[in-house]
């Protein structure tokens, strides 16, 4: 592994804005913040995966994976990070290294040729190049190749050095943030700057969630310069250093980037969430307050309060009919990170009971928030082994499991309602609009007639006849008797 990457890792592990990290002693900090993986019992993506997730939503760039087939071949076009324009980001580019390339040490040459061909054909504003386990192992210096190619080909080429083996998906998110900070942000001056320009960090526009909150900002006259990186254009990310404020929505993923942007360009940041009604209101209120502190006109705060009052009333009015059907329903929440608390508060708002929430990918701050929301840590679990989760659901501990695709089939095979709240989902749940949608979907799922159907006993399982199901048995004597009367 390259010296550069080692230094980078040490730096990321030493993140001063990370509360959890600062509680450790020097030795523990050096070990890094990703938990040691347990071979044979691990789940989740690698650093490469994390870096790609964080950057791929830059819609007009080419994202080129330098490695053997599987990294891109098995993973491309698998998220619904939506674009309002360019579609180049949805193509899957890889150098698809063959055995010959590896044995002959052709990796760097192949990468250079690939860059040349891709730029000639697609003329992108930038190319992101991702290293992988294999390219790192054979010693390909992607940083040098990208630098050289960038000059020779006249297109920004960003080296994202996050091979899978260095750690988890979360670490990959952070390494992606480093790449943006060092190679992208600040390289282009924005066309226009205004007193209400903000960036939203860690928002990937999954299923179009950004578009659920964008109109709110627009109505207030707050301009989202760019998301990092949902529905982003390269130039906008590159010129995001002139914004007045950064909002960070996925707390642990890009905290290093938020801190560094504050240090270098004096952009303050705050953490917020668009999941849930009160969280959305808080995010808008904080944005307005901080912008006014930085010189935006004072009336913004009042307008924000008015908008919040209107939107909250509107959302509650739409949710109210469903609250009756959901009140007291028990939820097993199995996600991680920011969602472990932001969704908790959202569900509590409609009167649902969270029986447990997993905190396996959450930070110290995330956990503190959960304690606050749920009155202690009794409901926090690290991870639930699949067998245990199946048993819980099969005996009816929860009325619904909210999770990602990995645990979907544990719920379904236990014939228990399930809803996808992870990155692969097709529905957008952000802002007031998203909350209405989430509650609607939970209601539809919990109250779907299919659960009665799939829990019916098979004909060979019950000996006593079920009056409801055996119409022929019921009808036959009736028919006979009516015949008799006639």
């Amino acid at each position: 592994m390259s010296q550069g990457l080692n230094a980078k890792l040490a730096e990321v592990f030493n993140e001063p804005s990370c509360e959890k990290n600062q509680k450790k002693d020097g030795k523990a900090r050096k070990k890094g913040c990703s938990k040691a993986l347990v071979p044979g019992a691990a789940a989740g993506g690698c650093a490469f995966d994390g870096a790609k997730i964080a950057l791929q939503p830059i819609t007009d760039a080419v994202h080129l994976v330098h490695g053997a087939l599987a990294c891109e071949g098995n993973g491309w076009d698998n998220r619904h990070a939506a674009s309002s324009g360019p579609t180049l980001y949805r193509l899957g580019f890889t150098t698809d290294l063959s055995e010959v390339d590896i044995v002959m040490g052709n990796g760097e040459k192949r990468l250079y040729r690939a860059l040349k061909e891709v730029i000639a054909k697609y003329a992108p504003p930038a190319v992101f190049v991702y290293s992988t386990c294999v390219s790192a192992l054979i010693g390909d210096d992607i940083v040098a190749v990208c630098k050289h190619a960038s000059q020779a080909l006249g297109t920004p080429i960003i080296a994202v050095d996050a091979p899978g083996f260095v750690g988890s998906k979360n670490l990959g998110n952070k390494l992606a943030g480093e790449a943006l900070f060092e190679q992208v942000i600040g390289t282009v001056e924005p066309d226009a700057v205004g007193p209400t320009d903000i960036n939203i960090l860690g928002e990937y526009n999954v299923a179009g969630e950004l578009w659920q909150v964008k109109p709110l900002f627009a109505e207030l006259g707050i301009r989202i310069h760019t998301c990092i990186t949902g529905d982003a254009r390269y130039r906008e990310v590159a010129s995001s250093h002139r914004a007045r404020l950064n909002m960070m929505v996925c707390s642990s993923a890009l905290i290093n980037l938020a801190r560094k942007m504050e240090e270098r360009w004096g952009i303050p940041y705050f953490e917020g969430s668009f999941y849930g009604i009160s969280d959305t209101s808080n995010a808008l209120r904080t944005t307005a307050k901080l912008l006014v502190e930085r010189g935006a006109e004072a009336g913004l705060i009042e307008r924000t309060d008015a908008l919040i009052a209107r939107e909250e009333a509107n959302a509650w009015a739409r949710i109210a009919p469903r609250v009756v059907r959901l009140k007291g329903k028990r939820v097993l929440l199995y996600t991680g990170g920011v969602k472990s608390w932001s969704v908790v508060s959202a569900l509590q708002e409609v009167g649902m009971e969270i029986i447990r929430t997993s905190v396996r990918k959450s930070t110290g701050e995330d956990k503190e928030r959960i304690k606050e929301l749920m009155g202690g840590d009794a409901h926090m679990v690290d991870s639930i082994p699949p067998r245990e989760m199946y048993a819980q659901l099969a005996r009816g501990d929860a009325d619904i499991l909210l999770s990602g695709g990995r645990t979907q089939f544990i719920a379904l095979k236990a014939r228990t309602p399930w809803l996808d709240i992870n990155q692969e989902r097709h529905h957008a749940y952000a802002g007031y609009e998203g909350m209405v949608e989430l509650v609607k979907n939970i209601d539809q799922e919990i109250n779907s007639p299919v659960w009665q159907e799939v829990r019916r006993k098979a004909p060979w399982e019950s000996t006593t006849s079920d009056a409801d199901t055996s119409w022929s048995v019921r009808c036959l004597p009736l028919a006979t008797s009516s015949l008799g009367v006639g």
């Binding site: 989740g44 087939l69 993973g75 899957g92 890889t94």
Partner: protein
């Protein structure tokens, strides 16, 4: 005879291939109570697993040795050992299939040697679990190669040699290709049994990945060929292998148990189905049952009804060699022209038989470009072709792996007379559905006009 041409690009755009370790994992999942284990970084498993979940709509119990930076530098022995012990402890599998990845293969690890040492060191902990290793570097081959390598590895490790065979055995060992769905295997089983033969499939995903609701939680595959059945494969009358990529497994098994084999390139299409039924007749000494004859007649009828919709249509197909070949042959036999054929890998002998002037060994980017250039009417490939089809403005007919944006991939049957008939109907319907719009002129008000024209 098609000319096979490899892509000259230094990159792939929109990969057509799925990786070899993934193919191996699917084969391992066709063994009862199994857990596939990827020897690599955790992302290797996670990406493959997510893709398989999206296709099958099932929990896929693939595990990982989770190589980190230290293991990458010092070697993966400890991780492999720990992973095996953990998997056995937590999931109690009957079988663990290890597939290597590009990461460990690039390091040049001696995995077979490591495994032998781990077996002795952890004899007590691993007792009662069969462990098999298949070498499947991502940088070599694709899903067919991984599936075949895993099947060969299972045969070598678990089928005993020197078993005395019962000359009256009615058992037929079947080595299906990676392209057979659960429904295909069910159809083959019925067909083979209707000749009084007893099929043993290796691997058998028809009971593990068919999509069913088991009575209790299982942390392993939900079905598959039992180890007992694999142990008794020697006592068989014959071996049937399907698809050119199953030649090595077939040879391996034939040598091990001294039983002859037949390799059918495909059991889809009239000729392929005839070859299968002919073989079953010969092996069983029984002529085809009435029901099978009826099915053949039904297929002929479907071909007659269907061919109008294929005549002169221009079809672009992208797939793995052993799926590309039967599909291209089928549509060609019905009068369509295969204008573009793209294969995921280039070493299969079957590619030369594809009825198209050139077979490109490339990706979906190539398929899209040639389909545009040659004005294809229909794109035939897996779900990843959806972007290309949308840009081209032509329908996508989904085949192979992965199919993640439609339900029921495992319930689609396309083998034998009955399956081929179904496939013809589906293809014809895809062509039919698209006709009114596709041939329509902007000024035209009558949507049915182009259909009338095509009949003229």
């Amino acid at each position: 005879m098609a000319k096979v041409v490899k892509s000259q690009r230094a990159y792939a755009v929109n990969p057509l291939k799925s990786s070899a370790p993934l193919g191996a994992a699917l084969a391992f999942l066709g063994i009862e109570r199994s857990v596939p284990l990827f020897h690599g970084s955790q992302g290797c498993t996670s990406l493959a697993l997510v893709l398989a979940v999206r296709h099958f709509k099932e929990a896929i119990p693939i595990q990982t040795t989770a190589l980190d930076e230290v293991a990458t530098i010092l070697g993966g022995f400890d991780n492999l050992e720990e992973a095996l012990v953990n998997v056995v402890q937590r999931r109690q599998p009957a079988f663990i299939g290890i597939a290597s990845t590009a990461l460990v293969e690039t390091r040049g690890e001696d995995i077979a040697g490591d495994l032998a040492l781990i077996r002795t060191r952890q004899a007590a902990a691993l007792q009662g679990t069969a462990i098999v290793f298949a070498s499947t570097p991502d940088f070599e081959g694709a899903i067919e190669d991984g599936w075949a390598a895993a099947t060969s590895a299972v045969i070598q490790a678990l089928v005993p040699t020197g078993v005395v065979r019962n000359p009256q055995s009615r058992k037929l060992n079947v080595l299906p290709s990676v392209h057979q769905s659960a429904a295909d295997l069910e159809e083959l089983r019925d067909l083979i049994e209707s000749f009084g033969l007893c099929p043993v499939f290796l691997p058998d995903i028809s009971t593990s990945l068919d999509g069913h609701v088991p009575d209790e939680y299982q942390g392993t595959s939900l079905g598959g060929t039992s180890l007992a059945a694999i142990g008794q494969m020697a006592d068989a009358r014959h071996i049937l292998a399907i698809g050119e990529h199953m030649r090595t497994p077939a040879l391996t098994l034939a040598e091990r148990i001294a039983v002859s084999f037949t390799l059918l390139p495909s059991v889809t299409g009239l000729a392929g189905s005839d070859a299968l039924v002919g073989l079953l007749s010969t092996l069983s000494g029984v002529t085809a049952p009435e029901r099978v004859r009826r099915q053949r007649s039904q297929l002929l009828d479907a071909m007659l009804d269907g061919h109008f919709w294929f005549s002169g249509r221009r079809i672009a197909i992208g797939s793995d060699p052993d799926l590309l070949y039967p599909l291209a042959k089928l549509v060609h036999s019905l009068g369509a022209e295969v204008v573009s054929a793209v294969a995921s890998t280039g070493n299969s002998a079957v590619l030369q038989e594809v009825p198209c002037a050139t077979v490109m060994v490339s990706d979906l980017g190539e398929l899209e470009e040639s389909a545009a250039r040659l004005q294809a009417d229909l794109l035939v490939t897996h779900s990843h072709g959806r972007q290309a089809a949308a840009r081209l403005g032509i329908p996508l007919f989904r085949v192979g792996f992965p199919i993640f944006d439609r339900l029921g991939a495992q319930a689609r049957c396309s083998v034998g007379y009955r399956g081929t008939r179904q496939l013809i109907y589906e293809l014809a319907n895809a062509l039919m559905a698209e006709m009114p719009e596709h041939g329509q002129e902007k000024s035209s008000t009558s949507a049915s006009a182009p259909i009338v024209e095509s009949w003229a």
